[in-house]
């Protein structure tokens, strides 16, 4: 076995594979140039565990209170065939849904294999798209698929897709509050990009059945608690912009197979567990293995990627570690030491080069800064 699947399995080693979700795809798409994240995610590696074992545990975890609240809210709106959700959509979308179908796609005759579930999701969605039935249908636990870096990633959204007047709407249930019609901007942005991932995957699934993309609306529905209560409220999100960004970023991503070709054939992130599952691999050796795959660290990774502290440590001394803006404002110069040598006229690059332009900028900044500080004394 030498195909990409076998290579990825070898990279992952003996740990259980982790699957992609809308959040990981959104994170990956926000930094499409990072081969490390692309490879680790494609291999289904447990990044949290690897980072911790290499000595750089991720700076975030999930509070059990937040988890409980999120699950309780979702369970509440979906209870009894999504009764609350239906009432809400009836008023929000002005739906004439006297009766609506509710299909749970969680299992197929007791069999929960991914391929089987995906096939069933596709069939049911296509049938719904073709039918003339005006009654809405909700699909709970559909299993979708999206091509990421030339490979299929399965997406198991807890969302419900709703069909109305011949169009599907993606519904995202989140437990952050909408207060007086306003919600936390960062959280809404994250929800929008996740919804966009599902819209894209849903369109892909329908395209295989020759159903045009317009069958899936770019208006997704966000369901959140209202004000300080547990009462759900629905708002529409237009995710056209997110769809454009996602599509562009996904197309910019290198193919996983090409990335694999750059790596040594025997590379693995296996922790060499003994019979009780206790890892025996030397942490330094694992770190060296991880470093074989190139990363592109930016401070944004600190809130989205489990490997962030590992990569930040590696990026020490790089202007990128100070932020994307900082790097640009420093004339795109890669290393902090180079910046200071250029600013201090120690390095004098040949005129006409890009570096000469950066040097002029930095020298001027250093001169103005020194002058201003002298003046202030």
């Amino acid at each position: 076995m030498t195909g990409p699947e076998a290579r990825l399995a070898r990279l992952r080693g003996r740990s259980l594979p982790r699957s992609h979700n809308a959040r990981t795809i959104a994170a990956l798409a926000s930094n499409p140039g990072c081969a490390r994240r692309a490879i680790l995610d494609a291999a289904g590696a447990d990044k949290q565990r690897l980072a911790a074992y290499a000595g750089f545990p991720a700076p975030f975890g999930q509070s059990r209170f937040a988890l409980a609240r999120g699950n309780a809210f979702e369970a509440q709106v979906k209870a009894e065939g999504a009764a609350q959700l239906l009432t809400l959509l009836r008023t929000h979308l002005n739906l004439p849904i006297p009766e609506a179908h509710y299909d749970d796609l969680g299992e197929v005759g007791g069999n929960a294999s991914l391929d089987l579930r995906h096939a069933r999701t596709r069939t049911l969605l296509a049938r719904a798209a073709a039918s003339q039935d005006e009654a809405g249908t909700m699909f709970d636990h559909p299993l979708l698929r999206l091509e990421v870096g030339g490979r299929h990633a399965f997406l198991e959204p807890d969302l419900v897709a709703f069909r109305l007047h011949g169009r599907f709407h993606v519904i995202e249930i989140k437990s952050f509050a909408v207060i007086d019609g306003q919600a936390d901007g960062d959280k809404v942005a994250a929800a929008a990009i996740q919804s966009a991932v599902y819209v894209l995957a849903l369109r892909d699934a329908l395209a295989e059945q020759h159903i045009p993309p317009e069958a899936v609306s770019h208006e997704t529905i966000l369901v959140c608690p209202e004000n300080f209560s547990n009462r759900p409220v629905a708002v529409s999100l237009d995710v056209r912009k997110q769809l454009t960004v996602l599509r562009r970023q996904l197309s910019r991503m290198a193919r996983i197979a090409d990335l694999l070709d750059l790596l040594p054939p025997d590379l693995t992130f296996d922790l060499d567990p003994d019979r009780d599952g206790v890892p025996r691999r030397r942490p330094a050796e694992l770190a060296a293995a991880i470093r074989q795959v190139e990363a592109r660290y930016a401070p944004e990774c600190l809130s989205t990627c489990e490997m962030c502290f590992f990569c930040r440590d590696e990026a020490r001394g790089c202007t990128a570690a100070l932020g994307r803006d900082a790097r640009e404002e420093l004339g795109g110069v890669e290393h902090v030491q180079t910046v200071l040598r250029l600013a201090g006229r120690i390095d004098r690059p040949a005129p006409g080069t890009d570096l000469a332009e950066a040097a002029a900028l930095l020298r001027q900044a250093a001169r103005l800064r020194a002058e201003a500080l002298r003046e202030a004394v």
């Binding site: 509070s63 209170f65 300080f228 200071l340 250093a366």
Partner: protein, 498 residues
């Protein structure tokens, strides 16, 4: 961010020590601020868990909600907080001073100042204000009388943070990172413990080392309102469960024990931040105050005086949402104030002015030639119009005809007559008007002398009058017509808080 501050970050990263980003302090700092450190329960919209609050570094008030999901206990917490906050604001409602200018009115001689650790603290304050200001002291779900008043004050403080000119409420991380550049990214500067590690490391340690240590949540618990998830899962969960169990089984001594254990655990999370907050205040106080800060604080005192009067006279609480006219007015005002503050900061601080010199919006140099007694006789009346030539090594964007202002002589206008370049230096010929007295010879010192270092900018620090907006009752139909007057509704007072 600019090339100058990014260069400062690069220097900080290389040296392991934070670098100054300003030479003076651009915010007002009260001699007696009220430090407020709230903690919230994860996953909820606005469930207060605990707070450390007070105006005396030696006497913090620890407030705890023993069962964060219990509505009554939340309002009890709000009442406890109200006792501290309202006593503090009331202490500023005594001494008065004339407002000055043409207005003969009086205002309070000083104003309160709320300090929270980070922007999250401001957002929490805004939500706590929102969830308490509509409550009522009578009827169903009655709360203590002080609770809605607290809500109105918290809303007032949080609203003022939208104005870049206001210092009534400050987030410590924002204030510190505006004055110091660290060797890390702006995103990482939002951690107060880490930021202070860079700026003020303990003896024998570099800023970078102290910052790295401060990243450990066990050593430096998060500065709120979010708690450390590990703390939630391993400590908080059991202790809240113990309180709940003790309440269900009849309370008594078991309840007191459980509550004390929870309080202790929360105190360990809050106390380190309390120390950090006062250290942050001390560091900021150590910087000399910028020249325009006093004038901006006067506007804060006016706002405080107005709001205190509004509450005293029984005015309604702030509405849930702005009407069209007030929203437009607020936006226009924020933009205008932002421009004004940016100009004032540059005039007060050569390091901020350097940013404008970098982009060519300002230049500094020396006076190479001067005709201080030049009189323009071409008009109907002879007028004093001295000319000076400034030689600078900075890039100059200004073109003939442009009007410039110098921080040293803000009431004087300088019109650009000619710009010439020679040997990589630029000579700018300026004609001066105003700020020289009434005679045909300038008052001593009012015209820059040969050899004097000067700086000229393409902007002034002057006051721009606000644009005219219709009164709220004249809102045009295009904007929905006059908004209904906000009347507190019963529904608002009884709103869920789960």
């Amino acid at each position: 961010m600019s090339t100058l501050t990014s260069l400062a970050r690069a220097m900080a990263a290389a040296s392991g020590t934070a670098q100054p980003a300003c030479t003076v302090r651009h915010v007002h700092l009260s001699p007696r601020p009220l430090v407020f450190i709230p903690l919230a329960l994860a996953g909820e919209a606005n469930a207060p868990l605990a707070a450390l609050v007070g105006d005396d570094p030696g006497a913090p008030n620890l407030l705890v909600v023993p069962e964060p999901r219990d509505r009554d206990l939340r309002f009890a917490f709000a009442a406890d907080l109200a006792a501290v906050v309202l006593r503090y604001t009331a202490s500023y409602c005594a001494d008065q001073e004339p407002t000055g200018g043409r207005d003969p009115g009086l205002r309070y001689a000083d104003a309160p100042q709320l300090l929270v650790p980070n922007p999250g603290g401001i957002a929490f304050t805004r939500l706590l204000g929102r969830s308490t200001r509509f409550r009522r002291a009578e009827g169903p779900y009655a709360v203590a009388e002080s609770v809605p008043v607290l809500g109105r004050w918290l809303t007032f403080f949080a609203d003022r943070t939208e104005s870049p000119a206001s210092s009534l409420m400050l987030a410590a991380t924002d204030a510190l990172s505006a004055h110091w550049a660290t060797g890390q990214s702006p995103a990482e500067d939002r951690n107060l413990a880490v930021l202070l590690g860079w700026i003020d490391p303990p003896p024998g340690m570099s800023g970078a080392q102290a910052a790295a240590l401060a990243e450990d949540p066990l050593r430096s618990p998060p500065t709120g309102p979010a708690t450390d998830p590990t703390f939630d899962n391993e400590v908080l969960d059991q202790r809240i469960l113990a309180v709940r169990t003790a309440r269900l089984t009849g309370g008594g001594r078991a309840y007191q024990r459980a509550e004390a254990a929870l309080t202790d655990a929360l105190a360990t999370q809050l106390t380190p931040t309390w120390t950090l907050m006062w250290r942050a205040a001390e560091l900021l106080r150590g910087l000399p105050e910028a020249a325009h800060v006093r004038r901006r604080w006067d506007a804060d005192k006016d706002a405080f005086t107005w709001h205190a009067g509004h509450i005293r006279e029984g005015g309604p609480p702030q509405p849930r949402r702005d009407g069209a006219v007030s929203a437009a007015g607020r936006l226009a005002n924020t933009e205008r104030v932002q421009e004004m503050v940016a100009a004032q900061r540059a005039f007060d601080d050569p390091l901020v002015m350097a940013e404008y010199r970098m982009t060519g919006e300002a230049f500094a140099g020396r006076v190479a030639a001067a005709e201080p007694d030049r009189v323009d006789a071409t008009g109907r009346r002879r007028v004093l119009r001295p000319r000076v030539t400034v030689e600078t090594g900075d890039a100059v964007l200004a073109e003939p005809g442009a009007t410039l202002t110098s921080p040293a002589r803000p009431s004087q206008k300088a019109r650009v007559i000619a710009v010439t370049e020679a040997n990589g230096r630029t000579r700018v010929l300026l004609e001066l008007q105003g700020g020289m007295g009434r005679a045909l010879t300038p008052e001593p010192g009012s015209v820059p002398a040969i050899g004097e270092p000067v700086c000229y900018a393409a902007f002034g620090d002057g006051y721009q009058p606000p644009p005219a907006f219709p009164a709220s009752e004249d809102t045009p139909w295009t904007h929905g017509g006059p908004p209904p007057r906000y009347v507190p509704a019963d529904e608002d007072a009884r709103e869920d808080w789960s």
